[in-house]
Every structure is written in C-alpha cells, then in structure tokens.
C-alpha cells in the first residue's frame, strides 16, 4: 500500500521534473547569448540524469514492508 502511494507520487514528481528539466534547458539554449550557457545546459542535463538514476535506484531499494511495520503502529496510536 505504502509502496503504491509513493510510486504514484514518484511518477507525478518525475513527470513534473522532466517538464522543468526541459524548460530550463530550453531557456538556456534558446534565449542565452554566447557559448557558455549551452555548456552549462549540458552539465545540468548530465547531472540531472545521474541524480534521477540514483533516486530511482534508491527508491527500489527501500524495504516497504519494514517501513510499514514501523509506521503503522504510530498511526494506531491516533
């Protein structure tokens, strides 16, 4: 259950992040002057790519069953 909720949230956040990623790179390439902003756009893209892969890998490493065992008793108090 917890896994599914986080997965849905993750997909929504991922789509939003992709949109922001595209927008930022678009602005740097389309509206900037000179060569440096284009190289900055490339650095941003490569860094984002690595971080997104890391986030996805860490997401699938989470043991949701253990987390549920930890969180559910807290909610039962309320």
């Amino acid at each position: 259950m917890l896994n599914t909720i986080f997965l849905i949230l993750g997909v929504i956040a991922g789509v939003l992040y992709l949109w922001f990623l595209f927008t930022l790179i678009y602005h740097l390439i389309r509206f900037s002057i000179g060569n440096a902003p284009k190289i900055i756009a490339l650095v941003f893209f490569l860094g984002s790519f690595c971080l997104v892969i890391l986030v996805i890998a860490l997401f699938f490493k989470i043991n949701w069953q253990n987390l549920s065992d930890l969180i559910v008793p807290i909610f039962k108090v309320f």
Binding site: Y17, F20, L21, T23, L24, H27, L28, I29, R30, F31, S32, I33, G34, N35, A36, P37, K38, I39, I40, L42, F44, G47, S48, L51, V52, L54, V55, L58, F59, K61, I62, N63, N66, L67, D69, L70
Partner: protein, 173 residues
C-alpha cells in the same frame, strides 16, 4: 548531416531580436557577487543531509528507515541541483547589451516570463551612476540610470559591474 554538437561551437554575441548589421559592443550581466552569493547559499544547503544524518543516525528506528533516508537525501540533492541551475539561468538571462545603435535590457522574471526594453543611443540625455553602500563601493558595482528624451523617461539598470566604465562606454558610442 545535422551535427548536434554544432550547438556548442562558439556563436559570438548574437541575440534574439538583433537588427541586421547591428554590432554588439559589450554585454554585461549583474555583478558576479550576486551569482557567488547564490553558489554560497547552495553550498551551505548541501550540508543539511549530513546534519540530519548526525541527528538521527543513532536512533533505534534509523536502521529500518535508512533506505528511505538515503532516497530522500538523493531527492533533496536533485531538487537542490535544479534550484541552483534555475538561479544560474536567471543570472545568465538577465542581460544588458550595448550595440552601436541602442541599449537592450533583457530581464528574465521566471520561465516564459521576461521583460525587454530597448533604448536608442541618440535619445540619451543624461547617464547617472548610483553606488550605494560599502559593498557596492568595495566590489565596484552599481546602478545606471539613463535619462532619455521622449515619453520613456528613465531607464534603470541595476547591480552592474563597474558602472562608471559602462557609462563611459555608452558615451563613447
């Protein structure tokens, strides 16, 4: 064949809306101090997960939630990475261009939100330099206020590096 890497080859100082035969004399952005300030603040925020780790790593439940912690840390750095480049983009897109015919001020207020003002050099009546505060004098940055003839009365360009030299460069055109 279309070479995608041609995007990174030197393109000179051409800009969107440039008139034919219009030659760029100089291009300025805000003083580097304001970019450095952004870099410094981002640098400070990179330590936040380490602080949180120091606080919670000895708790009993951390062993169970450590995977979640590392996931949230990576997510935090992803957001921080984006915010840093967002501020850098805003810095790079806020520009002051002096050409042989006019001055172009392009102000990026956010994504798909910008303000552009142009000013013909022939309409300039007076240029004032404003340097307020110790920091502005020490780092040599300030504002340029340009008085024009016609209905566009004043043009203000803020936090420019070496405003006196810039004023001179405008007057020399």
């Amino acid at each position: 064949m279309l070479n995608i890497f041609s995007l990174f080859s030197p393109s000179g100082l051409s800009f969107k809306g440039q008139l034919p035969q219009e030659e760029v004399v100089l291009l300025k952005r805000r003083h580097w101090f304001f970019l450095a300030l952004n870099i410094f603040v981002t640098f400070l925020f990179t330590f936040l997960p380490f602080v949180v780790y120091g606080l919670i790593s000895r708790t009993s439940w951390f062993q169970v939630a450590s995977d979640l912690f590392w996931f949230l840390t990576a997510l935090y750095y992803l957001i921080l990475w984006f915010l840093f480049f967002y501020n850098l983009t805003m810095y790079l897109l806020n520009i002051f261009i002096l050409t042989k015919q006019r001055i172009v001020k392009r102000e990026q207020l956010g994504f798909f939100n910008f303000k552009e003002a142009t000013l013909e050099l022939s309409k300039i009546q007076d240029i004032s330099v404003l340097q307020k505060g110790i920091l502005a004098n020490l780092l040599n940055y300030g504002d340029l206020e340009i008085q024009t003839a016609g209905n566009q009365n004043k043009f203000l360009f803020q936090q420019l590096p070496n405003p006196t030299a810039l004023k001179q460069a405008i007057l020399n055109q």
